[in-house]
């Protein structure tokens, strides 16, 4: 019997083994090293000491970078200046390849961003990842630029419960009409149950789950979740924050990510 716990463990393990083998290094590390993804193992541990200087973002001098850091730090209360600096640095590292390829430096496109979500934060649900990308891409131009990157991450990683609730609700509100409808719920949950071939109606379980969720969260009994409904339910039970799928980093990968990115400040002195 395949319980979810088993499945979860397997996926985590396979991810870990990928990392360990060095076949697919974490995206941000791979870029830094200048190793294209998918190339053979380097034989160096991904977390090994880094001595090489980071490449400076294209078309940007030190002064400009400094200014950008300052403005972004001012607008973002969840990160300190050092952290912002690290994240900007990371952003431009990630951008490096894209820039080379496309020649324009607007930001990370959907695919690049989804790749990040998948590789680093272990997200698997395509739909949710799309929605997260939309959440980050505030101006809806199809790219996550540097300020959207910093702002998005500040909620994604360090957001308060209110910020996260807002973010999650936006992710779950697929059509952006301010409500999570039954259909939307069904859509998001449709892959959440193991399909048993014996069952007559494979969707019955999912419909039931939707009903259960609605019963739990729909306080005004209008058959759909408003933000108020959602907020109330989450305040009662924090576990319901990601009720319809993981759209926030799980604590473990978040910790790993932060540990990697905000490493030794000395290494970033030269930026």
């Amino acid at each position: 019997m395949a319980t979810p716990c088993v499945r979860v463990r397997v996926s985590a393990a396979s991810r870990a083994s990928q990392w360990a083998a060095g076949a697919a290094l974490p995206w941000y590390r791979a870029r830094v090293r200048g190793v294209p993804t998918g190339e053979g193992p380097l034989g160096r541990a991904p977390l090994g000491p880094r001595r090489r200087r980071r490449p400076r973002p294209a078309g940007m001098n030190r002064k400009k970078l400094q200014k950008l850091t300052d403005t972004l730090t001012k607008n973002c209360k969840n990160f300190n200046k050092f952290e912002v600096k690290c994240l900007i640095d990371l952003f431009y590292n990630l951008m490096g390849e894209v820039t080379e390829r496309q020649g324009i430096t607007i930001g990370l496109d959907r695919n690049a961003f989804r790749n990040i979500l998948h590789m680093t934060f272990g997200m698997t649900d395509d739909m949710i990842m799309d929605r997260v990308f939309r959440g980050f891409d505030e101006d809806n131009d199809g790219y996550v630029n540097v300020s959207e990157w910093i702002y998005g991450l500040s909620v994604f990683l360090r957001g308060t419960l209110e910020e996260k609730m807002k973010y999650c609700f936006e992710v779950f509100d697929l059509n952006g009409d301010g409500f999570i409808s039954k259909e939307e719920m069904f859509h998001m949950l449709k892959n959440s149950l193991l399909k048993q071939p014996s069952e007559e109606d494979p969707d019955e379980g999912i419909k039931d789950l939707v009903e259960i969720t609605l019963k739990k969260m729909d306080h005004d009994h209008d058959g759909k979740l408003s933000f108020t409904d959602y907020e109330q339910a989450v305040r009662e039970e924090t576990l319901l924050l990601e009720a319809f799928g993981p759209c926030l980093p799980d604590p473990k990968s978040q910790m790993e990510f932060e540990a990697q990115v905000f490493k030794d400040p000395n290494e970033f002195n030269d930026i």
Partner: protein
Amino acid sequence: MGVALTRSAQWTAAGYGTRTLEITPLNEVILKEIVMFVESFIYKHPQEAKYVFVEPLEWKTNLDPSAFESGYIVSETTVKSEEVDKDGQPLLFLSVPHIKIRSLGQLSRLLLIAKDRKLKEAQACIEANRDPVTKILGLDYNTVKEDTSTVNILDKITKDEDPESEIKMKVGMLLKQLDLHLLNHSLKHISLQICLNPTTVKNDIELLKHFSGKGEQTVLESIDYTSDYEFSNGCRAPPWRQIHGEICYVLVKPHDVETLCVTCSTEGVFLNGGKTEDEGEINYERKSEIYKDLVTFLKEKSAKFSENMSKQRKREERKKERKEKEKKKREKKKNEKKKREKKKRKKKKGEKKKGVGEGNKSKSKTKQNKTKQKRTTGEYLLILCTLSPLASPGSCPKSAEKIEEILSDSSSENEEDEEPPDRRQEANADLPSEYWQIQKLVKYLKGGNQTATVIALRSMKDFNLAQETCQLAIRDVGGLEVLINLLDTDEVKCKIGSLKILKEISHNPQIRRNIVDLGGLPVMVNILDSPHKSLKCLAAETIANVAKFRRARRAVRHHGGITKLVALLDCAQSSAKPAQSSLYDARDVEVARCGALALWSCSKSNANKEAIRQAGGIPLLAHLLKTSHENMLIPVVGTLQECASEENYRAAIKAERIIENLVKNLNSENEQLQEQCAMAIYQCAEDKETRDLVRLHGGLKPLASLLNNTDNKERLAAVTGAIWKCSISKENATKFREYEAIETLVGLLTDQPEEVLVNVVGALGECCQEYENRVLVRKCGGLQPLVNLLVGINQTLLVNVTKAVGACAVEPESMMIIDRLDGVRLLWSLLKNPHPDVKASAAWALCPCIQNAKDAGEMVRCLVGGLELIVNLLKSDNKEVLASVCAVITNIAKDQENLAVITDHGVNNDKLRRHLAEAISRCCMWGRNRVAFGEYKAVAPLVRYLKSNDLSEDVDNCITIHENGNGAVKLLLGMIGSSDHDLQEAAAGCISNIRRLALAIDKARYT
């Protein structure tokens, strides 16, 4: 000197006629000591040297008259001393070869004259005068035929006071001193020797029998006992020979020599005179040297034996090695099996229990055997050691082993607590709708990804998890397994959700056991290490619920849970760590609280208490005690309260100044906190210092005032318990009177649950040790409800009630009321209570009743069958019961008529007396009882009673009194000094009997 001579000196084994002293090192030492004493006597005690013997010492001397010089009238064949007595008779008269001497001075001179032959002279003198002391001091100083005791002499002396008898007394004393000195000497000698005992002899013979038979290979042709009858002590020798230390007689037929008739005695093995064919009697006379054991003896006697024996030995050794190897293997297997069985405990419990039980039994059996063997020598030495300050090597390991056993007993946590039968809901029964809903949810849990899992968990939590139907439904549809499995994943959300449900349903005892059976505890213990505080909290809280029974607590400990839980307590202090702000984080204080909660549950196992202490839990708990959060304080104080049953903790609690905080929290508003604090004080106040601390920190007043609130029974029980223990200190009892707690306590004697009553009555019992309090209790009308409580059935309560009634009965006025209320009869009927503590306590309470009743004799007689009951209680095995019953009997026996009745009931005097003696001796082994006896002045009448007939008829009596060692002897000696004549005599008689016993043993060994 007499005692040493008759007992210690090694006389030849001849049964009749003049015996001679053997030439043994011991005898030589004794003789030398005597010679030294006599030689120097004339200088050291010139006064006493002139004392004229009642009868002269006569013996055949080898001295020539010519050896005598000045001071003697010497003729060819006679010598007369110039020194004469009152009647003009010379004090020394020698008519070759007979010599008569009538003073120690002359004896002393004679030895000087004898020079290098003095040892021979002394030996001849002692051989001829088997009882020199009687001759010197006269028969009346030897009331008990053969030997004298200091006591007897002193006794006589106090009667007549003329100067002559004073000198006589001094001589007697000096002789006694010498006697003692000699005994000590011989003891040292004895203690160096190893002696045989029936068991070793028996083993030897059995072993030899094993290798005997026809054929060249065997060591012996045959070996047999002369007598088939074995006495209960393992000896086969007739009793009159056992006295000489002889164990059995064996007929041995070696291959190469004639049949040997051998005596095995405690001293060793020797050839005796043989068995006479016609009458079948054995000539007990020793005919050979003494060998240390049978094998050595036979080796000496038979060459064939020694040859074959060495062959056998080799074979034996090889066998033994093999056996040992096998044994080791078996043990190994057993251990492995045990381990395996542990895992399968649930299924194979019955079987395993049996196996282990047997293992233990056989182990303890061998242990017992060992101790028994040790004891036989040990005991012997012990008896001897009461006379000299020698250490007894045999007794030490025995006690050590005993302690070890006790320790392992208390710490081993057997599966004692009952496992409730697994109740499964029947499939056919009408199942509630929740059941189906839960089943559906569990299906989602099993087959859903984390999102679905969280939703299902969340939804499950909405059921009424406090309801048993739901709890069991979750289990019955297999939800428990899934929930525990979830704890093993990396999904924080799933873990939280799962723990939230487990936390709720683990309030159900069956679910707890299921969780443990499914291996939930190790997983939860691991979660305690998680970086997420809320996870830690939930895990700790769930552990707190699950660890309500022994097996679970042990599992927590075995998986290192205690250390981790103690580490949780530390959270509150190390706040330096930057908080990784996460959605699922609780406050540090909360973590510590949950940790304390879990520890509270775990601390109900003794081993866990120790583990908590070793993990450094006490200082952390002490620190947390300084906070003011009530919900934190309750588990913290609860844990301390549980642990305070351990001595270590009480010391630590004192050291960490926890009492102060406990007292402070007594003033809190929270009833549960008050309860726990009171409980903790109750536990700790066994210790005097703590009781004082409670008083010094002002804890008595809040305790007293908490008494007024009687709604919360649990708290009331705790508070009254604390008052009980605190009032053990006199100062505290006084304070409680000031705070008017006594009145309140008396008021609480009615309409309260038993837990409260036990403590209330206990407190009154302690308070009533003081006069004012007794009066107060009486004035408040406390006696009536107290006496009413005597008809209860709760044992603890009865113990306390009887104690309280006893305390009140100390006062005659109260006693009158108690008597009027029929209290004495009620107390008396409690002697029939099956519980020994109640019996004992009731008996103790009866003592003051009988003492203070107006016509105690009549009162006691009125109780039909009462005396018989009391006498029968003497057969009890319980020391406390025996002690108390003896005390009662001593009180009853003050009345002559009752004494007669008791004696009648005792079937015959000896039996009763033996019981009494046994009772005393057993009680006296327990140090406190000795004191109690002294306090209750029980010894004197008892001793007098024991002495009333000739005790010496019953050896057991002496042994039992003797075994209790110095305690009784000291008391007896004290009584010799008392002004009561009868008592003196009785006590002295007792001591003399004790001594006679010891000496009888000596004699048995050396004759």
